[in-house]
Symmetry: D2
């Protein structure tokens, strides 16, 4: 099971070569994670950041083909691994079926003091469902 | 041998938690590579992008400690591997000796049509020197 | 007649005070103009920038109230003045009826050499309709 | 008397036309104000934002000539007007003597609750000096 976010490539994303400047992809990935927490977990970033956060601990990306201005990307996120306070994600961007990048990352649930802390049960239950069905 | 770029953390880099929003780190990494090509290789981005480029093919980053507004970071870049048309880089950011992130990435030299192409000899010679002295 | 673009305030837009960092508003304004050219004028930015552009010649913004993370903004754009090669715009952002900013700007239609040039007739005809109905 | 900040135009600032994407200019302006508060007023943003801020209430910019990748800009800031809790600024960017943009803006000193509040005396004294000598 994948969480899908459409993302058209806009003027602001592109560099002098007319393709996406790669740091902008990380803003798209963050937007996708933010939408996933909001829509799939019912845990909006604007609420959870009142007293905690989900910083990215590590991320690896392979950029397999460039994206041009106007391309209609689809970012698809899967939950690959659930730890005590961590979450493994895979985010793939495609355009018309062609892979543009694939990212693997690890998030950590932290409290208001910046310390990693166990996922709250209601969120853990939902994430567990996403991990179970990641292959589906 | 390392190429070092100082980077103070500014207001624009920071998120609601008062720490660097991680996509901004990739802008810093890109700035560091741009400064390296300009100052160390005498191959400024504004010239080389007239008829080619050096897109990032892959990048992996571990964020080991958060950076706050006002922190004086030091980004240190080493050349770890020179291929026919590729270059392996390691970029470490520290503040007062504490590691904030470490990134490994691969760049590719491309021509004006977006195809990978061998490094020009003068640039290859300089890069070879940086790789030889990476451990120094 | 107004062209309306919804825009939720995301994590990436916000500063350490938890409100929108004002340069991000200009990205929203640009996105709104890009969507207007695409959807209302059927003149997508990715096509028109092949051989020209519509740079902003001047812009004035009053920020009347801050926007917080999660706020559901509505950007509403009106065409206020059509010149030989220029276009006057007013873009107002509101949230739940409260004004957050109001911007007045002037765009210029330029050719591939960066020179201002008259609006093509089909675009002029559409823009003229938007200006006529700006008060409606 | 002007406060001057050099700013080379980098890859990240440029759009598909190879010139500065105008929202990036507002990041430069913010960087210049941040440097002015740090270096000229000895009131670093990282300190003052612990319990207040200096949001921009309004800004007007005329973009008089485009800036290309690699251009070495100079941003020059003057203090034009000091109010009870406000400050008028003029920021001009030039390259080799040619004006690229001129911005006039108004900042407001606010407390931790977001309310405008009088400038602290030591900052007011310094700002007053800058306003007195703005024409010099």
């Amino acid at each position: 099971m994948r969480f899908v976010m459409p993302q058209k490539v806009k003027f602001k994303h592109c560099d002098p070569a007319g393709i996406v400047f790669y740091p902008r992809y990380f803003e798209m990935i963050n937007d996708c994670v933010e939408a996933f927490f909001d829509e799939a977990l019912e845990c909006p970033f604007e609420d959870l950041h009142q007293d905690g956060g989900v910083p990215t601990a590590e991320i690896s990306v392979q950029f397999t083909a460039p994206s041009g201005h106007g391309d209609r990307l689809e970012l698809a996120l899967r939950c690959t691994r659930l730890g005590r306070s961590s979450l493994g994600l895979e985010t793939e961007a495609t355009c018309g079926g062609q892979r543009r990048f694939i990212a693997t990352s690890t998030l950590v649930w932290i409290d208001g003091n910046g310390k990693s802390t166990p996922w709250p049960d209601p969120i853990r239950a939902k994430l567990d469902g996403w991990v179970q069905r990641a292959a589906a």
